[in-house]
């Protein structure tokens, strides 16, 4: 792939900025790696000068071994038909970043989702509150150090669940065929 196939506005902007790397991963996909300080400015340029008006999604990946969260902003241009994915990393301890809601309205949904699932707080985002997990007060469940299966085993006591219908079945010689502790892993 040559840069000629990329739209020229995009290349101009990417050349202007320091502290970023970009490469074309397929004919209509561009990957940009950018520092967390430079990302909001990059998005502003992409939207304002290169027609990347559609924020398709913000994805969050928990790289627990590096002690970092990766945030990926997927942007689409309806004019040049390219999808730009801007990758940045933030420290896992502080887990705070800046909202891009002023630039992209759809960001509010994705930022709230990441706040709920990963516990990353976005400053300036309009809805930093519970949406899906309203009755959950445990740790953010999508973090890698939250083990959903262990939580289920600890919280819900399978053994003590012994309703009348099961007793009746057991009297007839039936019942639970494989007890949870015997499940082959």
């Amino acid at each position: 792939m040559t840069e000629r196939e990329l739209d020229t506005h995009l290349v101009t902007i990417l050349r202007e900025l320091e502290s970023l790397e970009y490469r074309q991963t397929s004919p209509r996909r561009v990957r940009i790696d950018v520092t967390r300080e430079a990302l909001p400015g990059l998005l502003e340029l992409l939207k304002g000068r290169a027609s990347y008006v559609h924020l398709s999604a913000i994805s969050c990946v928990d790289w627990i071994e590096d002690n970092e969260f990766e945030l990926v902003y997927h942007l689409w241009s309806y004019e040049s038909n390219h999808l730009v994915s801007a990758h940045t990393r933030i420290p896992r301890e502080t887990a705070r970043y800046i909202s891009v809601y002023d630039l992209y309205k759809p960001a509010a949904f994705f930022e709230r989702d990441i706040f709920e699932m990963f516990g990353v707080y976005f400053e300036g985002s309009p809805h930093m509150e519970k949406f899906i997990l309203t009755e959950w007060d445990g740790p953010p469940p999508m973090r890698k150090d939250f083990d959903a299966e262990a939580y289920v085993q600890e919280t819900f006591n399978w053994q003590s669940y012994h309703p009348d219908w099961l007793k009746e079945l057991e009297e007839e010689g039936g019942g639970v065929a494989i007890r949870p502790e015997e499940v082959r892993r």
Partner: protein, 380 residues
């Protein structure tokens, strides 16, 4: 009987009142609540309330093998499950650098378009029902059932097919299947004038749907609206045409648009898309017999399949809009992260809240259904 967490609240005297719609109600294809603040029958503000369907798909996927997730993904959108399987498979194939055999690509297009027809028929029915015309919903669901019969013949499953796997499809079409599809298409096409008489040219429907939940193209772009809802504001954009995948580049189809951006325009765009899907399917039926070869690329042992480390953003046009999967692998036998971007994550939450403002109570359900939102895509 009051719930455990009930707390009485007192409010100053006001003409405003709150109304809870849902989580079960006619406005949407699943459990999803909407809290309204009203003055008389005018909505002052709406607040979407999700979480009634949350099953933690993304977390579950991290604990299952790449191949096992195929059984999980179609459940993310019940009315339109095929794009979920195909997009997930496309993501895995992209990570592995797998080439999908041409015949499998045509088979996927066949399923995708059948699924789109089924989803649109379902939406016509639901949309009509929100305006009080229940006959269309009975028709829509009955006609959708014919597509489900086709899926049953092809895959064995009516709603969840689990037919597309990374590398291709599980089987080839059974004998006589294409004739069966052709007959069903003939029948559905012959039904369109009936639908027109009953719904699309029905003055009751037109009066109810025109100017309801209208958005301009600028708003739609700002709010992240995609799919038929975006095309109803006049922008001819379709991922199938503008970011082509599978064999859509070899197929002829138009991208229908409407200008008004209201509930009526959205219904008309879906009606026009139905015809385009018929057109695509006719081409598939014509071309498929001449395309030989396997339906599946050889894949490693799926139970010990270490997908190379990397990340990808696979994207398709589902019946509801832009559907994308962001998949990350760290070289293991399970996904490190899968993020599902459903079109309804915009339509059912922010767009709905903004469109409901200033609408009348009687139109709220119609606005919801005309956006064709699928709550499980929000509550993934």
């Amino acid at each position: 009987m009051r719930p455990e967490n009930y707390q009485a609240q007192s409010h100053p005297p006001s003409n405003e009142y709150e109304l809870f719609i849902g989580p079960n109600h006619p406005g949407i294809e699943g459990n999803y609540a909407f809290k309204l603040k009203l003055h008389g029958d005018v909505v002052l503000a709406g607040k979407a309330d999700g979480g009634y369907l949350h099953r933690g798909f993304e977390k579950l996927m991290e604990g299952r093998l790449w191949i096992q997730n195929i059984a999980l993904v179609p459940r993310i959108c019940v009315p339109d499950p095929v794009p979920m399987e195909v997009t997930y498979s496309m993501a895995v194939e992209d990570l592995c650098g797998l080439e999908v055999p041409e015949r499998a690509q045509w088979l996927r297009v066949l399923q995708l378009e059948l699924s789109r027809i089924a989803a649109h028929l379902f939406t016509f029915g639901g949309h009509a029902a929100t305006t009080g015309m229940y006959t269309t919903s009975y028709w829509g669901i009955a006609d959708r059932d014919l597509i489900l019969d086709l899926f049953e013949a092809l895959t064995g499953g009516r709603v969840y097919h689990i037919f597309n796997i990374p590398g291709g499809t599980r089987r080839d079409v059974p004998p006589g299947f294409l004739e069966q599809v052709s007959q069903t298409l003939d029948y559905l096409e012959s039904r369109l004038p009936d639908y027109d008489n009953l719904l699309f040219t029905n003055q009751v429907f037109i009066t109810r749907a025109k100017d309801v939940g209208a958005m301009t193209q600028e708003q739609a772009l700002e709010w992240g609206v995609t799919g038929p809802n975006l095309r109803a504001t006049g922008l001819a954009f379709d991922v199938r045409r503008d970011d082509p995948y599978l064999v859509y580049e070899q197929l002829e189809f138009d991208v229908p648009t409407e200008a008004a951006g209201d509930a009526w325009a959205r219904a008309m765009v879906r009606r026009a898309e139905l015809k385009q899907s018929f057109r695509i399917l006719r081409q598939v039926i014509e071309r498929l017999p001449s395309i030989g070869g396997p339906v599946r690329a050889p894949i490693p042992n799926p139970l010990a399949w270490n997908v190379p480390a990397g990340e990808t953003y696979a994207r398709v046009e589902s019946s509801k809009g832009e559907l994308a999967y962001y998949a990350v692998s760290n070289g293991g036998d399970k996904p490190y992260r899968v993020h599902v971007r459903g079109p309804s994550s915009m339509h059912a939450v922010q767009v709905l809240e903004w469109l409901a403002e200033g609408a009348r109570l009687e139109d709220v359900a119609q606005i919801m259904f005309s956006l064709d939102a699928c709550p499980p895509e929000v509550d993934r």
